[in-house]
């Protein structure tokens, strides 16, 4: 297989997306659905086929020139290297399963062409981010995922709240994109190139102050897409979209794009200690914040949304601690178990008659197909970090990296990570108990669950459970496959004495047990929800929306009115109107001279004649005098 065919990997989903969007409604429905799934499945197969090209230094393919002006010479080019390959495999694989799920989930939807077109376009954009050779193509994919997210969150546009949620997502992530764009411009000015490999190679020669600024800007850019503080308000509302969208975009792929960006530019970002601390701090604070909010949520998907925010915080902490392997490991396992959780949640919502509130569910274990409970439980234990699951190994790897970091300040972050793990276990089992245990509390009528919605859950659940094999630590006899695959891209090698590692593992097990116990004690037998100020505060995400509204949205609207009515109408137009009025008034004054009467004009002649006569006489007198 020629390496120049690598561009087919992102091209396949793009073509299927375009065909679906343009002609999808005219094709038979099955054809459109098959095309959508094939687009992504084909990309998955191609990735496996071309896997060999990623080894060593990777393979670079240039497609055509995009912009060529002066010093700017940017092409559409992709770089299939060791960092990109596992991510591509994960994205295409999980996307294929979610596409299958979506075929079942949306089988009653009439506007299927738009949905599948957007879903495929999203996969293309995500692949553009992953495989980008230069920052401009990455930016194209970056904005592309934002666009598709906007279109898919607001897919059921007839309800205005959905459209507004989509707009909010787009705008908040765009704020993050501004910071990324500033970093892009600055990098071009500093290094003269936008090529990622060249930037990484030249990173050491950029002045330290600039490096700190750049890493902070990149961090803020990543925060936008990954829904970290302070740009996180869009993720919870994004659950207004269909469940396959939440599973794909807001669990596995788009929210991890920020982490991927930081890993891609790791040689640059890791040069500044301030930057790394900032990344870890943001990750830690977000993880804690999101975990507290998840404890009080009532809608099943919002719990999972905040949980995603929290887990992505862990990934940020890993990057800040210096280990790319840790971050990517958690990224991969999280993709598996969070996707399965979302998809199972979609099944649960169907069974509850389109009811989202977990307090109105219960007894789902008996109401639905038996596998639903086991699949959901599999995802839940991975999320909580039960020993030997994939989630356990990946989370533990991050906590180890934080604990063993040379800078002792990182122990604080480690502590926050542990606390968050406790809360994670708590809210995860809260969810499981409220949804599956006890008696059915709801009133809705269940919808049947199509086959396509059920069997994609199994591979993902299994992958989540055994995902630890990807990077099994040497402590338990594993070979750290992922770490060795990444080689010199892996960041800091995390080493610790065996006793430290066992101590930390024991600690983690104790935390999970404690969290489970607390949830069991409180939620095993149903109690009505508590409504007090604390729970409302947590439910509304620490009133972040209200804060943003008061600090940003309202001043913006006031300024808009000022500019439009105050400035344009009153000041600029007012000045012109004033000038026009002055002219009219002056003209009115002058008009008084034109009386239309002959006698007035005759008087004017006489006076004028007098003045002229006087002037001539004066001239005569003066001239005669000299």
């Amino acid at each position: 297989m020629s390496e120049s065919l690598l561009f087919l990997i992102p091209l396949l989903p793009l073509c299927c997306a375009v065909i679906n969007m343009l002609f999808g409604m005219r094709l038979p429905r099955l054809f459109a659905e098959i095309m959508a799934v094939t687009g992504v499945a084909g990309a998955f197969l191609l990735t496996i086929l071309f896997w060999g090209y990623a080894e060593g230094e990777g393979t670079r393919v240039v497609i055509f020139t995009w912009l060529n002006s002066g010093a700017v010479d940017v092409s559409f080019a992709m770089n299939f290297d060791r960092l990109a390959a596992p991510m591509t495999l994960m994205v295409t694989g999980v996307a294929t399963l979610i596409h299958l799920y979506a075929v079942g989930y949306m089988h009653e939807e009439e506007d299927y062409a738009r949905f599948f077109g957007l879903l495929n376009l999203f996969v293309f954009a995500m692949l553009a981010i992953i495989l980008a050779d230069n920052l401009l193509v990455l930016f194209l994919g970056w904005e592309g995922v934002g666009l598709c997210s906007y279109g898919l969150i607001g897919f059921w546009y007839r309800k205005l709240e959905n459209a507004k949620a989509g707009t909010k997502a787009f705008l908040v992530t765009r704020v993050g994109d501004v910071f990324l764009a500033i970093a892009l411009l600055w990098l071009f000015a500093a290094t003269g190139t936008l090529n990622i490999s060249e930037i990484n190679a030249q990173a050491a020669s950029i002045s330290p102050g600039v490096v700190i600024a750049l890493s902070l800007l990149l961090l803020l850019g990543a925060c936008g897409k990954s829904a970290q503080l302070p740009l996180m308000t869009w993720l919870a509302d994004a659950m207004a979209g269909p469940t396959p969208v939440s599973a794909l975009i807001h669990a596995a792929t788009m929210v991890t794009a920020g982490v991927y960006l930081l890993c891609r530019l790791f040689p640059l970002v890791s040069l500044s200690a301030v930057g790394m601390t900032a990344i870890t701090a943001i990750g830690a604070l977000t993880a804690l914040y999101a975990a507290t909010c998840a404890m009080a949520q009532r809608e099943i998907k919002r719990v999972l949304a905040y949980s995603t925010m929290s887990q992505v915080g862990y990934m940020f902490m890993a990057v800040g601690a210096g280990t790319v392997t840790g971050a990517m490991f958690h990224l991969l396992t999280h993709a598996f178990f969070k996707a399965v959780l979302f998809m199972a949640a979609g099944c649960v919502i169907h069974l509850a008659g389109d009811e989202n509130d977990i307090y109105k569910m219960g007894g789902m274990a008996r109401r639905g197909p038996v596998e639903l409970f086991w699949v959901f439980l599999a995802g839940a234990v991975c999320l909580a970090g039960l020993p030997l699951t994939g989630g356990f190994f990946s989370k533990d790897g991050i906590l180890l990296a934080l604990f063993t970091h040379p800078d002792p300040a990182y122990r604080v972050f480690w502590l926050i990570g542990v606390l968050t793990a406790l809360l994670t276990a708590f809210y995860t089992f809260r969810l499981v108990y409220l949804v599956f245990a006890g008696e059915w509390r709801g009133t809705g009528h269940p919808h049947a669950i199509p086959l396509q919605m059920r069997w994609p859950l199994w591979p993902l659940a299994l992958l989540g459970l055994v995902g630890g094999m990807l990077n099994l630590p040497a402590l338990v006899g594993g070979d750290e496959m992922l770490h060795h695959w990444y080689g010199d891209l892996a960041g800091r090698a995390v080493t610790a004495s065996h006793s430290t590692e066992w101590m930390l593992i024991g600690f983690a097990v104790a935390i999970v047990a404690l969290g489970w116990f607390a949830a069991h004690w409180r939620y095993r037998n149903y109690r009505p929800p508590v409504e007090n100020r604390v729970s409302r505060f947590l439910l509304n995400g620490w009133q972040a929306d209200a804060l943003v509204d008061r600090l940003l949205v309202r001043p913006f609207t006031v300024m808009a009115r000022f500019c439009s009515s105050g400035c344009d109408r009153s000041l600029f137009d007012g000045t012109l109107e004033g000038l026009a009025k002055m002219a009219t008034r002056y003209s009115a004054l002058l008009v008084q001279l034109a009386t239309g009467r002959a006698t007035t004009y005759l008087s004017a002649f006489a006076w004028g004649f007098l003045v002229l006569l006087g002037w001539f006489l004066l001239k005569l007198v003066n001239g005669g005098g000299h």
Binding site: F64, T65, W66, L67, N68, S69, G70, A71, V72, F76, L136, F139, L140, W142, E143, G144, L147, Y150, G154, Y157, R158, K159, L160, A163, K164, T167, F170, L171, R174, V175, V178, A181, I182, L185, W186, F188, A189, F556, T557, M559, A560, R561, F562, C563, S564, S565, C567, D568, L571, F572, D573, L576
Partner: protein, 496 residues
């Protein structure tokens, strides 16, 4: 004049100017036969576009400074010559003009009253625009400047909306005041140059060699600026545009935003900057600040609007603020980005104005409070609306992004703060554009309507624009290629 020695002899440029003029005369004479008029106008527009396309494909892909040149003695007693010159920048502008006029003619297909006069004015406007972009003699430039002004006035005041008289008068007086300042400056420059060299001439190439004192240069530059700054438009001289665009008939709005605004910026590039380099160098920081102010002021004002046409008018001002910022950076990449952005802005905003006209025809309203849910009623229309809105807000892969990113990359090299501030304006663009999209195509339908989707004529207008939007976003290289030679020389000092 050696730079002009090896250029083709056939008078292509005069053809570009004369063809629409003849078409206009014929339309005027046969005004009663509406179908013939429409066909004639469309044929003329297509023929002009054919010539422009030929020039672009055959002569435009090189790196030379000048592409075409024509020189005929006109009024020797005053040194006025009929000189036309085309370089890469003019070529792109001419191509854009020819392309947009086809859409304008198609958009005006359903005009009821005084059909012959309408098309005649439209074609006269095209002729004037071509002249502005091609003229190389100052009197000729001024002549075409005014020729482009008068049809616009009549288009607005006869076929426009409710407040048309006021809007047309405001437009006319505002731009005329600027033009008269420019006329005074032209004559003064002519006199000064004549007194110095003994050869009284109006040709721009010859006037470049004039030696001016600082005071003279400042005043003359201000005179030219008065005309160009009003036409650009630069805040705070922009209030005529919002009224004019809102009240103009559909084809008039298309021409106004797509083409007439570009003449101001083109005038800066072709006339003002090369003739007065020292005054330009002093003025550039102010120009940059004004451009940024315009970017934000217009974006904020756009957010407040309820009338979608007015919102798009403000968005035009905002985009052109970014264009002028690129010019003020005085950097190669930024200039090429600015010119590309001018072309792409013409197409995207023009397409949006077409769609607004179509929506108005179908629903009878332009207010966002009464619109909504259009996607369910007319999916193709709504999908194109979304496409062009996304292109307008600068989504990578679509038209405006290519120009914008080049402007930002170039500006950052010279004035990083400006580029950062301009990026913030990008968020504002997303805010008002998404508000527009949400108000028009998402949400529940506010009134029960059955709307016809796009007809063949409307597809003919919009499909080429959609294809161009994607093409320019992904592969703008053939449109950037003609610019290299011209821009490099203009930045270095401008001769010849």
């Amino acid at each position: 004049m050696n730079a002009f020695a090896n250029l083709p002899q056939f008078p292509w440029m005069s053809l570009l100017i004369m063809m629409p003029l003849c078409g206009a005369l014929l339309c005027l004479l046969h005004g009663k036969r509406t179908n013939d008029c429409r066909g004639l106008a469309l044929a003329t527009a297509l023929a002009t576009f054919g010539v422009a396309l030929y020039l672009f494909v055959c002569h435009g892909q090189g790196n030379e400074r000048w592409l075409l040149y024509e020189d005929v003695n006109w009024i020797p007693a005053y040194g006025i010559r009929y000189v036309l010159a085309m370089d890469g920048i003019a070529l792109l502008m001419v191509l854009l003009t020819a392309f947009m006029q086809i859409s304008a003619v198609l958009l005006a297909w359903r005009v009821e009253r005084h059909v012959g006069s309408f098309f005649a004015l439209l074609l006269l406007l095209e002729s004037g625009l071509m002249g502005i972009f091609l003229a190389y003699d100052l009197v000729l430039f001024y002549l075409f400047w005014e020729v482009a002004l008068i049809p616009m006035f009549f288009l607005i005041s006869v076929w426009g909306g409710e407040q048309r008289r006021r809007a047309a008068l405001k437009f006319f007086l505002y731009t005329l005041v600027g033009s008269l300042c420019m006329l005074v400056a032209i004559i003064a420059l002519y006199q000064i140059n004549g007194a110095q060299t003994g050869a009284y001439t109006f040709v721009i190439g010859d006037l470049l060699k004039t030696q001016l004192t600082a005071a003279q240069e400042g005043w003359l530059f201000a005179g030219f600026l008065a005309a160009f700054v009003v036409k650009s438009p630069l805040v705070p001289f922009h209030t005529w545009l919002t009224d004019a665009l809102t009240e103009a008939p559909a084809a008039g709005s298309l021409d106004l935003t797509g083409l007439l605004l570009k003449t101001g910026i083109y005038g800066l590039i072709r006339v003002a900057f090369p003739l007065f380099p020292n005054a330009t160098a002093d003025f550039l920081p102010i120009l940059g600040i004004l451009a940024l102010a315009g970017l934000f002021h217009a974006a904020w004002s756009a957010y407040h609007q309820d009338d979608i046409k007015r919102l798009l008018a403000y968005s035009s001002i905002s985009h052109l603020g970014l264009v002028v910022l690129g010019l003020a950076a005085w950097q190669l990449t930024a200039w090429e980005g600015s010119i590309l952005l001018m072309v792409t802005h013409g197409i995207t905003t023009g397409a949006l104005f077409v769609l607004v006209a179509l929506i108005r025809e179908r629903t009878g309203t332009r207010s966002m409070q009464e619109l909504g849910g259009l996607w369910g009623q007319a999916p193709c229309l709504a999908a194109l609306f979304l496409l062009f809105s996304l292109a307008s807000l600068g989504l990578p892969g679509l038209a405006n992004f290519a120009g914008e990113i080049l402007v930002l990359l170039g500006t950052f090299q010279e004035h990083p703060v400006w580029a950062v501030v301009a990026l913030l304006g990008v968020v504002f663009a997303a805010a008002y554009m998404l508000r527009l999209v949400q108000g028009v195509i998402w949400g529940p339908a506010k009134a029960e309507r059955t709307l016809p989707d796009l007809t063949m004529r409307e597809w003919l207008m919009l499909l080429p624009m959609a294809i161009l939007v994607v093409w320019l976003g992904l592969y703008p290289a053939p449109f950037l290629a003609p610019l290299h030679g011209a821009v490099a020389t203009l930045l270095a000092g401008g001769l010849p």
